[in-house]
């Protein structure tokens, strides 16, 4: 401190009148805590076994599935959004719509790419629509909700495939119709339970209608699926 005062005297001559009281503590520690003092180190995921990492993500996905199946106004789907579930569901649905055996060239069945594009592109457009209308939900949260709510329709697809293993009759058609209609209503209801809250009241219908159309088209693809003879 003494050397500083001596060198600064010719420059700051006017300051020599000011006296710094020695009661004010002018000390401290300016070292940045590194290493073991960093709280993030306690949650470092680099050292855990791979099984834990995968299971954690799978558990998160499974928990969200449960939230979709019993849609209450919880924010679990929205807070930790992830896109693993939608990807899993979309790929499963698109694969099951393929028919398994070799398709003939003029089969009008939706191709894998068409289903994929419709689901993802449709979700993006609905999200954009919701945001343009003034919604408060974020982009990926909305994608996450729309993707997860395809779960009832995927279940319906599995049921339809099982029913189609039997004979192709009008009874099977009626059963499939009922199953697909029920899961369509379930999907739409589940996604509007999450999405509609983020819109002002006079625009709720404008946001719900595209969601309805989206799940209707997917339901139509599921209902008209027929295995190749």
């Amino acid at each position: 401190m003494a050397e500083v005062e001596e060198s600064s005297k010719p420059l700051f001559a006017g300051l020599s009148d000011i006296s710094i009281s020695e009661d004010i503590p002018v000390e401290g520690d300016i070292s940045v805590p590194v290493g073991s003092q960093n709280p993030d180190d306690d949650f470092s995921t680099l050292d855990e076994p791979v099984k834990d990492t995968i299971l954690r993500d799978l558990r998160a996905v499974g928990q969200k599935f449960v939230h979709v199946l019993y849609p209450k106004k919880s924010s679990a789907l929205l807070k930790d959004w992830d896109l693993w579930g939608p990807l899993l569901l979309c790929v499963t649905l698109a694969l099951m719509l393929q028919g398994g055996s070799a398709d003939s060239g003029e089969d009008g069945r939706p191709q894998f790419a068409e289903v994929f594009v419709i689901i993802w592109f449709g979700s993006v457009i609905i999200t954009l629509n919701s945001k343009l209308l003034g919604g408060t939900i974020s982009f990926f949260q909305s994608l996450c909700v729309l993707g997860y709510c395809i779960l009832p329709l995927t279940v319906a697809m599995i049921v339809c495939r099982i029913v189609l293993l039997g004979a192709l009759s009008s009874v099977s058609f009626v059963v499939r119709l009922i199953v697909v209609t029920a899961s369509f209503c379930w999907s739409t209801f589940a996604s509007t339970a999450f999405l509609a809250d983020s819109q002002p009241a006079n625009r709720k219908a404008l946001v719900v209608y595209p969601v309805f159309l989206f799940y209707f088209v997917i339901s139509w693809m599921i209902l008209t699926f027929l295995p190749s003879p």
Binding site: R109, E114, L133, G134, R203, L206, L213, M221, T224
Partner: protein
């Protein structure tokens, strides 16, 4: 220009922006000293420019949106509608009353992109799905017909509808703007308003396409006629006041082109998506109603 020392910075910038974006605007310049007179000059400029801009057919509604076209708020201004407003516009497109210009009465300087876009999407899927249903119903008694979902038709329907709903308004708007620049007394519409009119006028085809699944021959063509008349009249009543002041030949030619394109769309839908099968080996002749009814009853008997 005089030194803006006495002015608030915002006013000056606004005037300069307006003048730079619309150099042809009529501006009054009151040359008198003093800040008050200059600010009066600025205010007069603003109001004059706004009036002029509402009449002129600039590309996107007079630049009253916030931000440039790269910001999100710019596009948000096109979705500034409520559910009741959209319903009201749809009702106006389905029940065109003579003398009610759709643009002036319903859109009222608030064109939106929600209606046209989602009506087009709905139309694409309703035409494709109804076409699928129709093919299934009309071939029900045909033993050699295996039902296959015709999903590739969705792509074709999408391309057709979106090209129609966006390229044709572009052409109509461009033509009207060109005529307006040639002869000043014609009032034009902005591009968005044209897209809006075309989009909402396509709404009538959605219930029509659902009703087209009923495989009764005369009913289908009757429905086509009704749908064409309704949506065509919406278009005619919107665009007639715009071309009425032009030469008679141009006016009638424009109207004829608009109506014929619309008719072409409807007939094209019917012929492509709702194909009535011609001779498929069995004795199907031109008459569709009675053989189809007979085959349906036979098929119902078989399935039980």
């Amino acid at each position: 220009m005089a030194s803006p020392d006495d002015l608030t910075f915002q006013e000056f910038e606004e005037a300069a922006d307006l003048l730079s974006s619309n150099p042809g605007a009529s501006t009054l310049s009151i040359s008198s000293p003093g800040a008050a007179a200059f600010s009066e000059d600025v205010k007069v400029d603003l109001s004059d420019d706004e009036d002029h801009q509402q009449e002129s057919s600039e590309l996107l509604g007079g630049e009253k949106q916030t931000g440039g076209f790269w910001t999100f708020e710019y596009y948000q201004s096109f979705f500034n509608v409520d559910a009741m407003q959209v319903l009201d516009r749809i009702k106006g497109s389905v029940m065109p009353l003579p003398g009610r210009n759709f643009v002036k009465h319903h859109i009222r300087n608030n064109p939106d992109l929600y209606g046209p876009f989602w009506i087009c999407v709905t139309l694409v899927f309703s035409v494709a799905i109804s076409g699928d249903l129709y093919t299934f119903l009309i071939n029900k008694g045909n033993p050699e017909f295996h039902y296959r979902p015709q999903f590739n038709k969705v792509s074709i329907a999408a391309v057709t509808v979106f090209l129609y709903a966006w390229l044709v308004p572009l052409g109509v708007w461009g033509f009207l703007t060109w005529r307006q620049s040639v002869e000043r007394h014609i009032s034009g519409y902005t591009f968005l308003e044209t897209v809006c009119v075309y989009g909402y006028s396509l709404f009538i085809y959605i219930p029509a396409s659902i009703l087209w699944t009923i495989p009764v021959y005369w009913l289908e063509w009757l429905l086509i006629a009704i749908a064409m008349v309704i949506s065509g009249s919406v278009l005619v009543m919107t665009f007639w006041p715009a071309v009425r002041d032009d030469t008679r030949l141009t006016a009638f030619a424009t109207m004829a082109v608009i109506v014929s394109l619309h008719a072409l769309l409807a007939v094209g839908f019917k012929l492509y998506f709702f194909k009535t099968p011609t001779n498929t080996g069995s004795s199907h002749s031109g008459q569709q109603t009675t053989p189809a009814a007979n085959h349906t009853t036979l098929a119902v008997g078989k399935h039980q």
